[in-house]
């Protein structure tokens, strides 16, 4: 299973802290997020991706503690037992 964790405004939008989905062969982060939206039936990808499907610079997406910005971004492969976290950090001080 893939564990997906939701934080801050994403958690509030989806009204849950985490969800587990079975792993699919040859799936990447972008495909996993599309599958997640279909599963939970709550539109949320507009908070993460722009019209071209690229990440909006406001929410970090981590796979096993690593920001996908340093991996292969939305093409980062996902495997069984991976932990994916979606977190929009607060910028102010």
């Amino acid at each position: 299973m893939i564990k997906i964790q939701f934080y801050s405004l994403i958690r509030l939008l989806l009204k849950q802290e985490k969800l587990e989905l079975p792993a699919h062969d040859n799936e990447n982060v972008g495909q996993l997020l599309q599958r997640l939206q279909q599963q939970i039936k709550t539109p949320f990808l507009h908070k993460l991706l722009d019209e071209d499907g690229e990440p909006i610079l406001g929410t970090i997406i981590m796979v096993n503690r690593r920001n996908i910005h340093h991996l292969e971004k939305l093409a980062t492969p996902i495997q069984d037992s991976d932990v994916v976290a979606l977190f929009p950090p607060g910028a102010g001080g």
Partner: protein, 223 residues
């Protein structure tokens, strides 16, 4: 006034030895705004040995809803001068050094600092601050936006960099919403973690604490 009397209520909580550890500690507070003003005040009241304050801003009306060190009569004045004056009125035993400069790529951190509270209001300055840290230094990061905030401790050279964790994060356009209650609450978490770090027991090392004021929810994200 003896330290035993002055700090009696907290010595009852953490003991004499830890009070002495606090009195020997030096902390840099970067950004003396919504988070940093309260962080500075609480560390001063707690009896920190020495504080460095870094900021280049002037006090303005929108600051007064949350920046507890400043009053109406301070409008237009540089923050650091007023902050030092108020902090020394609160506790004249604390040494307060000023770094009145913008935190950018040329920022240098004095050699006697190993604990830094990131109370800045933008990611670019945060990443520049982190780049200036000596290996082994502890960075306690705080950030807030609306009803959401986070606190995280990183150790330079052992932890991931803040710039890696928050890579690609873009500063929101325009002013960031922040309330007095939200900023003060986040500042208290930062101070608690700074003191834990001084005592050698950081609780948020490589562990983001994410605080939601809207439904009073706390969660953690390992990084």
């Amino acid at each position: 006034m003896s330290a035993t009397k002055r700090y009696n209520r907290q010595i009852l909580h953490w003991g004499d030895e830890r009070q002495q550890q606090l009195g020997a500690a030096t902390v840099l507070v970067a950004g003396i705004g919504g988070l940093g003003a309260t962080v500075s005040e609480l560390l001063t009241r707690a009896g920190i040995g020495k504080l460095y304050l870094a900021d280049d801003g002037r006090i303005d009306w929108p600051d007064l809803n949350r920046q507890l060190l400043y009053n109406e009569s301070d409008i237009g004045h540089p923050k650091l001068g007023i902050a030092r004056q108020r902090l020394q009125q609160i506790n004249s035993n604390v040494k307060v050094e000023l770094l009145p400069q913008r935190i950018n790529h040329s920022f240098q951190i004095p050699a006697d600092i190993s604990i830094i509270a990131d109370c800045l209001d933008n990611f670019t300055s945060r990443f520049d601050l982190e780049a200036a840290l000596a290996t082994g230094s502890f960075l306690i990061h705080g950030g807030i936006e609306g009803n959401q905030g986070q606190v995280l401790t990183l150790q330079k050279g052992k932890s991931q960099l803040l710039a890696e964790i928050f890579a690609g994060t873009q500063q929101p356009a325009g002013e960031i919403p922040v309330t007095g209650a939200g900023a003060t609450l986040l500042a208290s978490y930062i101070v608690n973690e700074v003191i834990n770090t001084i005592f050698g027991q950081p609780q948020l090392l490589n562990r983001l604490l994410i605080i939601s004021l809207s439904d009073l929810h706390l969660s953690f994200l390992e990084v």
